[in-house]
């Protein structure tokens, strides 16, 4: 299981996952608001 507080490489992977997830959520919200 990914533990972002165990090592820097896991923290970096967690950051990438969060960035992608937030971008998706924001994209969906902005799209819904535009429609």
């Amino acid at each position: 299981m990914l533990n972002p507080l165990r090592s820097e490489s896991e923290a970096f992977r967690f950051l990438v996952y969060v960035a992608v997830l937030v971008a998706l959520v924001v994209g969906v919200v902005v799209l819904v608001r535009a429609l």
Partner: protein
């Protein structure tokens, strides 16, 4: 007690209060976790407590905007989304350079580690300077409205964390240039790296909630 006696090689003396000391007056060695390195454990606990602190600020934001139904941004004000977007790109880039510095440290690429740390520091400093410039040019202050208060509260809290991160990075960079790190011993780079990625994750969430949504 027995393990410290074995480590010392002799039975520790006792003072009148009952505390144990070796013959030089030093207290017994502190208990350490056998599973987690002390430096990592320290940063782990610190980050967990800071996540809770950010949680408190996000809760205030939630009550102001969602429960209170306050207009966002406050009437008559605007948020510099484009500038904050550039700042987001800068901070995300700094996490990539930080990761590169760590990978270089593990691969005994000292030049890469030093350049990576230096560039990460400079990118973080740029982020902070742009944030300060943004504050100067905003058309509202922290006392203007509840929305203004929580905006400055959340972004300011994050800025303070960036400042702490820059301190850690400066220590790591100076030590890297002094040749303190090796492929097997580079906790002084890895622990600040974990903290820096936490700072970046918090900014992504702050940026998305405050500026975009």
């Amino acid at each position: 007690m027995e393990s410290s006696s074995a480590a010392l090689g002799y039975a520790p003396l006792r003072d009148p209060a009952g505390a144990t000391h070796d013959e030089h007056g030093h207290p017994p060695e502190a208990n350490r976790s056998s599973r987690v390195d002390a430096q990592f454990l320290g940063m782990l606990l610190f980050i967990i407590s800071e996540v809770m602190l950010f949680g408190a600020f996000f809760t205030a934001y939630f009550f102001i905007r969602v429960v209170g139904g306050a207009e966002w941004p406050a009437e008559g004000t605007s948020l510099p989304v484009a500038v904050a977007g550039v700042n987001t790109a800068i901070l995300i880039s700094s996490s990539f350079t930080m990761h590169w510095a760590l990978e270089s440290a593990k691969a005994e690429n000292r030049a890469g580690m030093r350049v990576g740390l230096l560039v990460t520091f400079l990118l973080g400093l740029s982020f902070l300077c742009i944030q300060v410039n943004e504050y100067v040019h905003l058309d509202f202050g922290p006392a203007s409205s509840a929305q203004g208060t929580i905006f400055y509260g959340l972004t300011g809290l994050h800025g303070a964390h960036v400042f702490v991160g820059l301190l850690l990075l400066s220590f790591a960079t100076i030590r890297a240039f002094r040749g303190h790190f090796s492929p097997t011993e580079h906790r002084g780079v890895e622990v600040p790296g974990i903290y820096w990625h936490f700072v970046d994750v918090m900014w992504i969430i702050v940026f998305a909630t405050i500026y975009i949504l």
